[in-house]
């Protein structure tokens, strides 16, 4: 067992966890933050993307113990004063989701893109979302959502 201390969505969390606990398991099964989804569980699908110290990573392929002291933001942490994040609004407005399973990862990954680049081209958006798979194949509207959010963020 290992003691970890993390800041998750602005709240300090201290837990004693088995050493092999991944961040995705920590979030979903220990903190009950089930907005972070687990699809492939082998870092290919991107449904589990969260931010660690502001950068997007796949939470299924990081050990919680290894992130001791980090600041984590999940999809649940995006709401501010009861209002959705501009990226969430944009996904809603452009119908950027169908079944919604990939959406938390898509949103977290796309926010990291816009934090790095303010007005990305279609190609840059597609290249960046390489690590996020949508099995409904709703990519056109996902690209539209990121472009829409770029005008608001």
């Amino acid at each position: 067992m290992t003691k970890v201390s993390l800041e998750v969505n602005g709240k300090k969390v201290v837990k004693e966890i088995p050493d092999h606990t991944t961040l995705s398991v920590f979030l979903r099964e220990i903190l009950n933050l089930t907005g972070t989804h687990v699809g492939c569980d082998t870092s290919q699908c991107g449904a589990c993307v969260v931010h660690v110290d502001g950068k997007s990573i796949k939470s299924c392929t990081a050990l919680a113990a290894d992130l001791n002291g980090s600041k984590i933001t999940t999809i649940e942490g995006l709401v501010s004063n009861g209002k959705m994040h501009p990226m969430q609004e944009a996904f809603k407005k452009t119908h950027g989701l169908q079944c919604g399973f990939c959406t938390p990862g898509m949103v977290m990954s796309a926010i990291d893109l816009l934090n790095n680049k303010k007005n990305p081209s279609d190609k840059e958006i597609r290249d960046w979302l390489e690590g996020n798979i949508c099995r409904c194949t709703g990519y056109q509207n996902i690209i539209a959502a990121v472009k829409e959010a770029a005008t608001k963020m």
């Binding site: 990954s109 390489e130 690590g131």
Partner: protein, 261 residues
């Protein structure tokens, strides 16, 4: 995933002291963690080396670029110094996997794993790299010994990779559309002493394609590759590409690289 004892270490001495026949060093974990989940590997001790400060960072001199083993792909891709001194290397780093992999994955992890389709091993061969470990220096041509095999001894830790800056260089790959691993990748580097043509993805281990490098050493132009024969013997054949196709792609991507140098 089977459980293990996780150790976060602060210096190389502590990390190597903990190493045993049932331990693994953990950097980005981009291969180690999925391998453990899939039951392909299990360890008693996982020794995290990411908090060892001296293992991370980039140093550029007139002759070489030295990258600490736990330096992430994103750091190499975005480094202004690397972009200026060795743009082919920052472009290679930018093409690895996806942004989340580049935010975690490390250069040392990539070469220690020596995946036959990984990008960085080709850079090591093309750029006459020297691999600095905690107790010796290994030249790249003696480092990669076979599929997922290197000359690292148990408990030996990569500290940095030193790349020689060539006169010209370029890396071109045909990426697997899903994983971005190289179906075939060719890193061409023209040094004063001659040309290296490092090929990844084509065989069970990265190698220097001597027929093409000899032709380019005599005449550094894409047309000098036209008449070179790349045999399909020993070349990988799988669902993505046949051996004959890959052998042809070695030439095609070598030409592309020379043209883009």
């Amino acid at each position: 995933m089977k459980t293990f004892n996780y150790h976060s270490t602060k210096d190389v001495k502590e990390a190597t002291k903990l190493a045993s026949s049932s331990s693994a060093f953990l950097a980005g974990g981009m291969t180690t963690i999925p391998s453990m989940k899939l039951g392909l590997a299990s360890y008693k001790d996982i020794i995290d080396i990411k908090r060892i400060k001296k293992l991370s960072g980039i140093k550029v001199s007139a002759k070489s670029v030295t990258i600490g083993s736990t330096t992430k792909h994103v750091e190499v891709a975005n480094s202004k110094e690397v972009k200026k001194a060795l743009p082919s290397l920052s472009a290679l780093a930018e093409g690895i996997g996806d942004p989340q992999v580049r935010n975690r994955g490390t250069i040392g992890g990539s070469i220690a794993n020596n995946d036959p389709s990984a990008d960085y091993p080709s850079a090591c061969i093309a750029l006459n790299a020297t691999i600095h470990t905690n107790n010796r220096k290994i030249s790249a041509d003696k480092f990669f010994t076979g599929m997922f095999e290197t000359s690292l001894k148990k408990g030996e830790l990569i500290e940095a990779i030193e790349f020689q800056i060539p006169e010209k260089s370029c890396y071109q790959k045909y990426p697997n559309p899903a994983s971005r691993y190289a179906i075939v990748g060719v890193y061409v580097a023209k040094h004063k002493s001659g040309v290296n043509v490092a090929v990844t993805g084509a065989k069970s281990c990265v190698y220097n394609e001597k027929n093409i490098s000899n032709a380019l050493s005599k005449n550094f132009s894409a047309s000098s590759i036209d008449n070179v024969v790349v045999s399909s013997s020993g070349i990988n054949s799988d669902i993505h590409a046949s051996a004959e196709y890959r052998a042809n792609m070695v030439k095609v991507f070598a030409k592309k690289a020379v043209e883009a140098c």
